[in-house]
C-alpha cells in the first residue's frame, strides 16, 4: 500500500473500495428519502468522496509501474475479487469523479426543472447506481465482477435516460432500444468471459493474462476475445454498433446527457484497452490483426460516416451525439495503431473529449433551461442574449474541431503524430477529413448562435425567459477554461495519458 497524501491512512487503505461502496450505499438511502434536494446532497457527498479517493489513488500510482491492489473482503487474489488500480484506470477514475462532480453542480437547477418533484430522489438514486457501476468497472481487476458493475451502471443509465420522457416521450423508446442493445452487448461480454474461464480456470484479469500467455494459439481464447470486443464495443458505441447512442443522448434529461457523454462510453473504451493490451497480449497475432484489420477500418468509417450524419441533424444534442460517435472513432483509431504512442493519443483524446463534450452539452443544457430551446434553428441569436454561456459553448466547439490552443488540438496533434510514426498517411487523411466535417457542423451551430438578433421570447411555456443560475455557469466555465488551459499547458494531460498507455501495455504480467 502506498503512502497517504492528504486523507487519513485508514481511509486510503480502503480507497479503492470506498470509491464504489459509498455511492452504492448512499443510492439506497437516496431512494428512501422523499426530498429531491436532500438526495442531491447525498449524491454530491458521494461524488466528493469518490473524487478525494480518486485523487489519492491517482497520486499513489504516479510511480514507475505502481499498482495498488486491494483484496475485497480480505480474500487474497486470484481467489477473491481484486480491485487493481494502475496508471490507466487511476486517470479514468479521476476523470469520472471530477466530471461527475461538475455535472452534479449543474444537476441541481437542471433536474429541478426537468424532472417531476416526487421522482427526483429516485432519479438521484438511479444516478448514484450508474456512477457506482462506472467506478466499479474502472476499478475492478476481476473479469466477472466487471460484468456485474457494467450491468449495474447500465440499469441505472436506462432508468435515468427514460426520465427524459417528461419532455419528449421518445426518451422511452430510446431507453428501451438502449436496454435491448446494451443487454445483448453485456451478454456477449459474459460469453467471452465464459470462454476465457473455460481456457484458464480463473477470473482475475492479471491471472488470466498469465495463463493465456502460456497457451498461444488457443482457439477458445481467440473466440473469447472476439465476443468481448463486440460486447464492449456495443457499450462504447463502436461504429456500426452505435445505433442506440444518438437517440439516448438526444432525449435524455440534459444532466444525464452531460454526464454520459463525458463518462459512459469512456469507461467502455477503457475496458477495450484493458482487454486488448493487458488481459490479451498485443504480441499475440490475433489481437494485433483484430486491431489493424477490424478496429481501425471501423474507427475510420465511424469518424467519417458519423460526422456526415451529424451535418444533417436538426436537434442540437443529436448532432453532438453523432459527433460523439465520430470522436469514439478517433480514440479507437489510436488504439488500432497498437503502439504505445497510439494508445497514449487515444487515451489523451478520451480525457480531452470528456472536457469538450461536457462543456458543450452543459451549455446546451443552459440554453434549454433559460429559453427551452432544443433545435439548432431555435438557437438563433442566443449569442446576444446569453453571451457568456455562448462563449463557453464556442470554446467547446472550437476544441471539438481541434483549433490550436484548445485541448482538442493537442490530442489530434498526438494522434496524427502517432499515425505518422506508423506510416499510416491514410489515417492522417481521415483524421483531417473528419476534422473538416467537424468544422462544418460546428459552423452551423455557431453561426446560428452568433449571427442573429437576440430572441424576444423563449420557448418555455408562457414564453418567459430565465436567467442562467450560478450553478450552471460555474461548472460550465470550469470545463471551458479547462479546454483552454490544457490546450496551452498540455504537459499534465499528456503525461497522464502516457503513463496510462505504459500501464496498459506493460502492466498486465509485471
Amino acid at each position: 500500500m502506498t503512502d497517504a497524501y492528504f486523507l487519513p491512512a485508514a481511509i486510503v487503505a480502503h480507497a479503492p473500495a470506498l470509491l464504489v461502496a459509498v455511492p452504492l450505499i448512499l443510492s439506497t438511502v437516496a431512494a428512501a428519502i422523499p426530498s429531491g434536494r436532500a438526495a442531491w446532497g447525498l449524491a454530491f457527498v458521494s461524488a466528493m468522496v469518490a473524487l478525494l479517493c480518486a485523487i489519492e489513488l491517482f497520486l499513489g500510482t504516479r510511480g514507475e509501474y505502481a499498482i495498488i491492489s486491494y483484496a475485497m473482503g480480505g480474500w487474497e487474489p486470484p481467489y477473491g475479487i481484486e480491485f487493481r488500480i494502475d496508471g490507466l484506470n487511476a486517470a479514468l477514475l479521476l476523470l469520472l469523479s471530477s466530471t461527475g462532480l461538475l455535472a452534479l453542480l449543474f444537476a441541481l437547477p437542471s433536474v429541478a426543472d426537468e424532472i417531476d418533484k416526487r421522482k427526483q430522489s429516485l432519479f438521484y438514486a438511479a444516478f448514484l447506481l450508474c456512477f457506482a457501476g462506472l467506478s466499479g468497472v474502472a476499478a475492478t481487476g476481476d473479469a466477472f465482477n466487471l460484468f456485474v458493475f457494467l450491468e449495474i451502471s447500465s440499469i441505472g443509465t436506462y432508468a435515468i435516460i427514460a426520465m427524459g420522457h417528461q419532455n419528449d416521450r421518445r426518451a422511452l423508446t430510446a431507453s428501451f432500444n438502449y436496454l435491448v442493445m446494451g443487454t445483448i452487448g453485456a451478454t456477449f461480454f459474459v460469453i467471452g468471459i465464459g470462454f476465457l474461464y473455460m481456457a484458464t480456470g480463473t477470473l482475475n484479469m492479471a491471472d488470466i493474462a498469465q495463463t493465456i500467455a502460456a497457451q498461444p494459439g488457443n482457439r477458445v481464447v481467440e473466440v473469447g476475445f472476439a465476443f468481448i470486443l463486440v460486447g464492449v464495443g456495443l457499450k462504447a458505441a463502436l461504429f456500426p454498433l452505435h445505433l442506440w447512442l444518438p437517440n439516448a443522448y438526444a432525449f435524455a434529461p440534459n444532466f444525464v446527457t452531460t454526464f454520459l457523454a463525458a463518462t459512459a462510453t469512456k469507461v467502455a473504451f477503457y475496458v477495450i484497452i484493458r482487454f486488448s493490451f493487458d488481459v490479451f497480449s498485443i504480441d499475440s497475432g490475433f489481437v494485433q490483426n483484430t486491431l489493424t484489420y477490424v478496429v481501425t477500418p471501423l474507427a475510420i468509417s465511424g469518424m467519417i460516416v458519423a460526422s456526415l450524419q451529424a451535418l444533417f441533424q436538426s436537434d442540437a444534442r443529436r448532432l453532438l451525439a453523432y459527433s460523439s460517435v465520430a470522436q469514439v472513432g478517433y480514440m479507437l483509431l489510436g488504439l488500432g495503431m497498437a503502439t504505445a504512442a497510439g494508445v497514449a493519443a487515444g487515451s489523451l483524446h478520451l480525457l480531452n473529449h470528456a472536457l469538450m463534450k461536457g462543456a458543450l452539452f452543459m451549455a446546451l443544457g443552459a440554453f434549454a433551461y433559460c429559453y427551452g430551446v432544443r433545435r439548432i434553428d431555435d438557437l438563433k441569436g442566443l449569442g446576444q442574449a446569453m453571451p457568456f454561456t455562448s462563449a463557453a459553448f464556442t470554446i467547446g466547439a472550437l476544441s471539438l474541431i481541434g483549433v490550436p490552443f484548445t485541448a482538442g488540438f493537442v490530442s489530434k496533434f498526438y494522434l496524427i503524430q502517432a499515425a505518422l510514426d506508423n506510416d499510416w498517411w491514410w489515417a492522417v487523411v481521415a483524421i483531417l477529413a473528419a476534422s473538416v466535417l467537424a468544422v462544418f457542423y460546428c459552423y452551423r451551430m455557431l453561426v446560428t448562435i452568433w449571427v442573429n438578433p437576440a430572441p424576444t421570447e423563449g420557448l418555455l411555456p408562457n414564453g418567459h425567459i430565465r436567467k442562467v443560475p450560478l450553478l450552471i455557469t460555474v461548472p460550465l466555465w470550469v470545463l471551458a477554461l479547462a479546454n483552454l488551459y490544457f490546450g496551452t499547458n498540455a504537459g499534465f494531460m499528456v503525461d497522464m495519458a502516457q503513463t496510462a498507455a505504459q500501464a496498459a501495455i506493460n502492466g498486465g504480467v509485471s
Binding site: 466477472f144 460484468f147 456485474v148 450491468e151 447500465s154 440499469i155 436506462y158 432508468a159 427514460a162 420522457h165 416521450r169 421518445r170 422511452l172 423508446t173 431507453s175 428501451f176 436496454l179 435491448v180 443487454t183 445483448i184 453485456a186 451478454t187 459474459v190 460469453i191 465464459g194 474461464y197 473455460m198 477470473l203 436538426s314 436537434d315 433545435r375
Partner: protein
C-alpha cells in the same frame, strides 16, 4: 457428424436456444416479445456456464466435516466446479433486474403511445415530427 452432435449435445441445445432468442429479438416488432427473446438469449448463456462447471464423474463439492477434521478426505475424488453456478446466480439476478427494467419501460411506452408495436411507435413519432416540423 451424428456422433459429434451427440457428444456435444448440450452445446447444440445452447446454440439453438441462443439463436432462437436472438432471432425472436430481431424478428418481432412487439416489445414484450422482444423481452422474451432477450431472456431466452440470456438463459442460453446461463446454461453455457452451468455446463462448464460439470466434471464427468464429479460429485457435488460438499465436504464432510468429519473427514475434513480427521484428514480422511479422498484425494482422488473428483468434484464438480461450483464457481460457475455462483457466477450464474449473480447473472440471473442481473438478468431479472434487466427484464424488470425493460417491462417497466414497456408499460410506460404503452401509456405514452397506446401501443407496444414497434412499427406503430415509429409511425406515431414520425407523424409528430412532421407536424412539429422538427
Amino acid at each position: 457428424m451424428l456422433e459429434m452432435l451427440s457428444e456435444r449435445f448440450v452445446y447444440v441445445v445452447i446454440i439453438v436456444l441462443m439463436m432462437t432468442g436472438l432471432y425472436a429479438l430481431i424478428a418481432t416488432g412487439n416489445l414484450v416479445k422482444r423481452m422474451v427473446g432477450l431472456t431466452i438469449f440470456q438463459t442460453s448463456v446461463f446454461l453455457l456456464y452451468i455446463t462448464m462447471g460439470k466434471v464427468f464423474g464429479g460429485v457435488p463439492p460438499i465436504l464432510d466435516y468429519k473427514d475434513l477434521s480427521n484428514g480422511t478426505l479422498d484425494p482422488n475424488q473428483l468434484y464438480s466446479n461450483p464457481l460457475p453456478h455462483v457466477l450464474i446466480l449473480t447473472a440471473i439476478v442481473v438478468g431479472v433486474a434487466t427484464l424488470a427494467m425493460g417491462l417497466a419501460l414497456v408499460v410506460r411506452i404503452r401509456e405514452a403511445y397506446g401501443t407496444i408495436e414497434d412499427d406503430a411507435i415509429s409511425e406515431a413519432d414520425y407523424s409528430l415530427e412532421l407536424e412539429k416540423g422538427v
